[in-house]
């Protein structure tokens, strides 16, 4: 066995080969592709905003700063709980790790519920692409809402995926697949969740705080 890799002997006596660092590096490489995915959208945003600064300003004023700020705090707190869940498993406290991971899932759901109310309000006001009122909007405002729904929609999809991934992690902790000696899966799930948080950190000022 390579000394650089983790090895462990199971009860059956055969060797299990593991490379935790390689596993985390793989996750980081995947996160880079996610940055490129959202990066393209940020580039489109930059160009449209440069072309229609006034329209973007007016359209942004339609968004609820309260909901945007609340969702920012919710996501930052969920990042904290998932990070603390990893701390707990490192210390061998399985129960605490599960509780903290459960809290993360609750925050993820709260984020999606907030988004549901936000989207509903926008659709009610005819700010959803395809409605009659939408086609009467100035060109730049329409472009802002196209981008708003696409970027937050894609981000919301990532929240949903993160929720599913972290649910699996909770099951793995319960089953003992993730333990104090083997928690890279939880770390990788956490990395994904933090990336989703980071994307929102940029989406929030760019969509909600335009002056």
């Amino acid at each position: 066995m390579n000394a650089a890799n983790h090895t462990s002997t199971s009860h059956a006596g055969h060797m299990i080969h593991r490379d935790d660092e390689g596993s985390r590096m793989g996750m980081w490489l995947f996160l880079f592709t996610e940055v490129i995915l959202f990066g393209g959208l940020f580039a489109v945003y930059a160009v449209y905003r440069f072309m229609h600064p006034e329209d973007f300003h007016h359209a942004s004023a339609e968004l609820s700063l309260f909901f945007g700020a609340a969702n920012t705090v919710i996501l930052l707190t969920s990042s904290l709980t998932v990070a603390m869940s990893i701390t707990a498993i490192q210390k061998g406290d399985k129960k605490k790790s599960l509780i903290l991971l459960g809290l993360t899932l609750v925050f993820a759901l709260a984020f999606l519920v907030n988004k549901y109310f936000e989207y509903s309000a926008k659709i009610e006001h005819g700010l959803f692409p395809g409605t009659e009122h939408f086609f009467e909007l100035p060109h730049g405002e329409a472009q802002f809402f196209y981008l708003y729904f696409f970027m937050t929609g894609l981000h919301g999809l990532h929240i949903l995926v993160g929720l599913i991934i972290l649910s699996f992690m909770a099951v793995y902790i319960m089953r003992g697949t993730i333990t104090q000696d083997n928690y890279t899966l939880l770390e990788n799930g956490g990395l994904y969740w933090h990336l989703v948080d980071v994307i929102w950190i940029f989406l929030f000022p760019l969509l909600y705080l335009i002056k």
């Binding site: 930052l76 707190t77 990042s79 701390t87 990395l191 940029f202 000022p205």
Partner: protein, 94 residues
């Protein structure tokens, strides 16, 4: 035996990072109430970058990873920023 050389980032430290992130969120909302013209978006992006640094370095454990993790993330960030900067110059000088 599986040996973990990873450092444990304690509960208290995690909470301190979280408080910093909340303060920065408050700062970015408050600053946005003033109009600094073109600087407003620059300030917002700088605060967002600072928040991203905190999340990456502490929550995502880049602090504890081997240097080549930080080097790779740095290269990615450089390429990303260069990509947006070139786009910006293209549109600014048309």
């Amino acid at each position: 035996m599986a040996e973990h050389t990873n450092h444990v980032f304690g509960y208290k430290n995690n909470i301190l990072v979280w408080i910093d992130l909340l303060i920065l969120t408050f700062v970015t909302i408050e600053i946005a109430q003033f109009d600094f013209h073109d600087l407003t978006v620059v300030i917002a992006l700088l605060v967002a970058t600072a928040k991203t640094y905190l999340v990456g370095y502490f929550f995502m454990h880049l602090k504890f990873e081997k240097p080549w993790f930080r080097i790779m993330v740095g290269i990615m960030a450089f390429v990303f920023i260069a990509f947006l900067a070139i786009l910006f110059f293209d549109y600014s000088f048309r």
